[in-house]
């Protein structure tokens, strides 16, 4: 659905030229400033600049001029470009440039704590990464953590069905179920991970002792620790899937269910043959988005276990975080992040292609 407007843009030659001048002039200024700064940094000039701020300001000036020139040079058409251009410039400057810059960092041996500064070392970091058992373990953990989404999905679907049932106080339950999502993962780490599951005085440890586990230790054993992280992350994000699934459930026309009821289908069959198939597109969208969020998991791991015991609960993000925090190893850390990015993009593309035929509405 697009808007078609006939405009009689009558841009004079002078105006078009002025627009071009604004773009190229400010771009030239940006290049000159960047060049001067680079010369200053490499020692050829001595201006005493301490930061790259001037180049930043030159870029901001260029971006403003680029937007303004659209209207000057293209009139009505330019005003339309102005809707998308600021956001595109913003994302371009903050993502594309750091990514290119990051490739340079990833290909170098750069420890911020060492006095040597940056040393280009080609693909050494890549080789080191695939020989690093802790990194490979973190990658494997991400697979396990992602697999836990299956359980989260079942619980979320169940809760959505319950909330969609004929109940009183629906609003209360909805708000209560939503709250975990609102809480900051760092506060949750303390509230649940460090306080409720504290092995001596925590209420959960008490409960475990009541149930016959004499020396409860929730983050000492690798498997249990991993399950705990999964459970806490699930606690936070189940509401998210639940809300999406609930929206999907409420969009199903009730005629379908009624027709099945008239035909005498049992509720069990009604669920599997009507509700579930109709919910498939929503389910897949919810799971895909959930996977994207899961792949960013770090906060609770950093704050509760710091990846321990022995890296058993590490996610890729928390591992890289410590690589920087403990060892200031910027070059290696960036390479690890880039490997992760490539893996994610490949995996997500495959997943999205594979599920496309269920998520697209039927033609």
């Amino acid at each position: 659905m697009s808007l078609h407007i006939v405009t009689d843009d009558d841009i004079s030659d002078g105006r078009a030229r002025r627009g071009r001048l604004m773009i190229w002039g400010s771009l030239a200024l940006l290049v000159v400033v960047a060049l001067v700064q680079w010369l200053d940094r490499s020692g050829a000039l001595d201006l005493g600049l301490t930061s790259w701020r001037p180049t930043l300001y030159a870029f901001l000036f260029f971006a403003t001029m680029l937007c303004w020139a659209q209207v000057v040079a293209k009139g009505e058409q330019g005003k339309r470009v102005l809707f998308v251009l600021p956001a595109a410039l913003f994302v371009g400057a903050l993502v594309v440039f750091p990514l290119i810059f990051g490739v340079g960092i990833a290909l170098s041996d750069w420890n911020l704590a060492s006095p040597d500064g940056r040393q280009f070392n080609g693909l050494d970091n890549l080789r080191q990464a695939f020989a690093d058992p802790f990194y490979l373990n973190a990658l494997w953990n991400m697979v396990l953590y992602t697999a836990a989404i299956g359980v989260e999905y079942v619980i979320a679907f169940g809760l959505a069905l319950l909330l969609n049932a004929d109940i009183r106080a629906r609003k209360f339950f909805r708000v209560a179920f939503l709250l975990p999502l609102m809480l900051s993962p760092v506060a949750v780490s303390w509230m649940i991970g460090k306080s409720m599951f504290e092995p001596r005085f925590g209420p959960m440890a008490r409960l475990a002792r009541e149930l016959g586990w004499d020396t409860p230790s929730f983050f000492g054993d690798p498997t249990i620790a991993r399950l705990m992280i999964m459970a806490m992350d699930a606690w936070t994000f189940i509401p998210f899937m639940m809300i999406m699934l609930l929206a999907g459930l409420q969009a199903i026309p009730s005629e379908l269910r009624e027709a099945a009821e008239v035909d005498g289908a049992s509720p069990w069959r009604r669920f599997w043959e009507i509700t579930f198939p109709l919910m498939l597109p929503v389910s897949i969208t919810a799971i895909l988005i959930r996977i994207i969020f899961k792949l960013k998991l770090a906060d609770i791991v950093i704050n509760i276990t710091s990846g321990g015991p022995g890296g058993a609960t590490d996610t890729v993000t928390s591992f890289i975080f410590r690589e920087y925090r403990d060892r200031s190893n910027v070059g290696y850390g960036t390479m690890l992040a880039f490997i992760y990015l490539v893996l994610i993009v490949v995996a997500m593309t495959v997943l999205m292609k594979a599920t496309e035929r269920w998520t697209k509405p039927h033609a």
Partner: protein
């Protein structure tokens, strides 16, 4: 008309209410039991934190749960944070620290969400109404370019940004975090707003333009007011995400621009921190979000449900 299932047939609240009834398996009691059980799972940690903030050491060790019955509430935790009513008049360093972090979090999350909603709403509107060609990229590609940022894990940008901000002298500054946070929530805002604008018929703008408004005039005076609920939803969702963000804040700030999550995290690490003051701090940090969750629940749900139903 004696059984529960017959009874429920009388009340048809809304079509959605009748969509699915697992009643035959579980019965009403079963449904409520499950609902209450899960509500306890969701709410108990919050209850535990609130009560712990009013406990003293013996209460914590004995695992007392119910105030006034099991133990007498004390204000140790809140006094340690400087937020107890009886000592509110005194000068308190922890309180100043807390308020500074709180203020940082507020400024950063509100500015980032506002910026993201402004940039995102414009971009989403443009993409839903006009045909673009930026070089080889057409509308579909531009949309994908924006939405694909969602897949980008923050850790990929973290270290390049660390170096970049160091060179730009922007480490430990609010503006640095604001820009990054805007970037992280922008795809979500565009995702929500695209849905919103697609639902508004183009005849509205056409009528406005016949009346002499320009493209931007029609957008600002006609379309934006209609799309306002969607924008509020996007804003609230961004606010929640940016308020809770920890990873970038921990990497890129040290003393000046610290946000609340960083403060909470730094306290958990230190040895010998008392449970009651930690509980008070955690609860004070999540309180604004609990308030938002209870008061603005429908906007949050609206935001998250966008795109779920096509």
């Amino acid at each position: 008309m004696t059984t529960a299932s017959d009874d429920s047939q009388i009340f048809h609240d809304a079509p959605a209410d009748r969509a699915f009834r697992p009643g035959f398996v579980l019965g009403k009691v079963g449904i409520y039991a499950l609902l209450i059980a899960w509500a306890v799972v969701c709410l108990f940690p919050i209850y535990w934190t609130v009560t712990t903030s009013f406990k003293a050491a013996p209460d914590v060790m004995q695992g007392n749960l119910i105030p006034y019955v099991d133990f007498e509430p004390k204000r140790l935790g809140w006094r340690a944070l400087g937020l107890s009513p009886d000592t509110i008049g005194q000068v308190s360093t922890p309180r100043q620290e807390f308020l500074r972090r709180f203020w940082n979090s507020t400024i950063i999350s509100v500015s980032a969400s506002l910026l993201a909603v402004v940039l995102g709403a414009c971009a989403a509107y443009g993409l839903s109404r006009f045909q673009y060609r930026f070089g080889p990229m057409r509308n579909g590609d531009i949309s994908f370019f924006f939405l694909s940022q969602l897949i980008l894990p923050p850790v990929v940008l973290a270290l390049p940004f660390l170096i970049l901000y160091r060179e730009l002298d922007m480490l430990d500054s609010r503006i640095g975090l604001i820009l990054l946070y805007t970037l992280t929530v922008l795809p979500i805002v565009i995702w929500i707003m695209r849905d919103q604008f697609a639902a508004i018929p183009t005849e509205l703008e056409e009528a406005a333009m016949v009346d002499g408004l320009g493209v931007w005039g029609a957008f600002l005076t006609i379309i934006l007011p209609i799309a306002l609920p969607g924008m509020v939803a996007a804003f609230i969702l961004s606010l929640v995400l940016t308020w809770n963000e920890y990873f970038f804040a921990a990497l890129l700030t040290s003393t000046h621009a610290n946000t609340l999550p960083v403060m909470v995290a730094s306290q958990t690490g230190s040895q010998g921190i008392s449970w009651w003051s930690m509980a008070a701090l955690s609860f004070a940090a999540i309180l604004p979000l609990i308030a938002i969750g209870i008061l603005l629940e429908r906007f949050i749900i609206k935001g998250m449900a966008a795109g779920a139903v096509k």
